[in-house]
Subunit: 258 residues, 2 copies
Amino acid sequence: MPLRSLDELRDVVEEHLVGLPLTEELGGLEPVLRYALESGGKRVRPVLCLAVTEAAGGEVERALPAAAAIELVHTFSLVHDDLPALDDDDLRRGRPSTHVVHGVGAALLAGDALLVEAFRYALSYERPETARELAAATLGMIGGQFRDVTGDDADLEALDRLKTGRLFAASVGLGLWAAEVPKDEQTAWRAFGEELGLLFQVVDDILDSDGFAERFGAGGARELADRAADRARTRLASVPADTSVLGELVDSLAVRNA
Amino acid sequence: MPLRSLDELRDVVEEHLVGLPLTEELGGLEPVLRYALESGGKRVRPVLCLAVTEAAGGEVERALPAAAAIELVHTFSLVHDDLPALDDDDLRRGRPSTHVVHGVGAALLAGDALLVEAFRYALSYERPETARELAAATLGMIGGQFRDVTGDDADLEALDRLKTGRLFAASVGLGLWAAEVPKDEQTAWRAFGEELGLLFQVVDDILDSDGFAERFGAGGARELADRAADRARTRLASVPADTSVLGELVDSLAVRNA
């Protein structure tokens, strides 16, 4: 069977997230979680997770709980980061932020619940590796966010490796666990994930004219992005698998304009 | 070896929490987590967890990660509940709340990190039951907190079974998993945990003159508390184990005045 394309994988993710069962006891908080989840995002991380699983010879269906867990953690981080106490963003992808629509208290609790739902899904696997990797990555991400809000950005690459890179790397890692790739065969895959996370963040900064673009200029940042994309492709080439779809993901992230 | 007393177990918990390793990548956020954790609380939930493990014939040391996970979740909930967007409490046990000392943004992120650290510790066990039970209980607790802040308290007992009861029940449940008590022998223990949670909440309401005390008067609430304590003792009596220390815990929670 041929590998699914990026668009097909994105459709699989969207369909899965729309019908994702949430804990009944959340009661009236559930619509707040759904509002945050149905944000029209690009779903880059869960698509990456599924594409890794499929490239590594695993079943996409088996990776769905892991992909959902990754997107739930990402969504939690957006809901909390947008709160007045942190970035104070009223808009998220052209739509009012969760706290603008549902109130700050509800958004705070919904973020908490999204985070725990992520672990509930990661814990649907019999083995604990998936949830362990998610916990470590999320703690790194929170540490990165704290650096960011306190202006501790002298080492921008170290900050981004935490804030963005850890969850990208975990998207790859969780895809590998779902495909049951043994730990000692994961190294090249994981190095690919690291580069992809850096690529994503540098392009983000170019689009927002901050971070790397502010520090090195648009041209300097573009060069950094291209070098990260090249290294990601080199890493992929060293993986003994059909990585054509992942290669397309590198290409699309390198040239994205939104 | 005789069972450890409640005071001895509390000392074990305190010592364990003071030295509890936290994730290095949290960086400057770590002192915020430590401030919240070293709050001078009574440590009722982790003591309950350890006492259940020991009564069920398990090793207290084996239950320490579970007990820490429970207290981390409890502490996360206090830090977030105290924030201006929810209860807006400037004081917690006579000390300035975490956000008063460290700022709202740092307290928000520290609460998130405490929650994930809880899962990291719950995931230190090879089997996933501990972390799964913690996730379900935490989601129920968050659902209860949402009911509380939105004034959805027509059914006060249902609200408290979520907001307080789920974490008490999980304290018992995690203690049982640490002692490797098979699932089909856990029923009476778990029923005990439910009653203990209700007892704790009703006494809390009597001390704060709200909730059950507001609705049924101090005398009515006292009667509810005494009945919950009696049922907890009856449940304990049906457990084939030395539950003397747990019986002392029931007694102390029934008459506590702080």
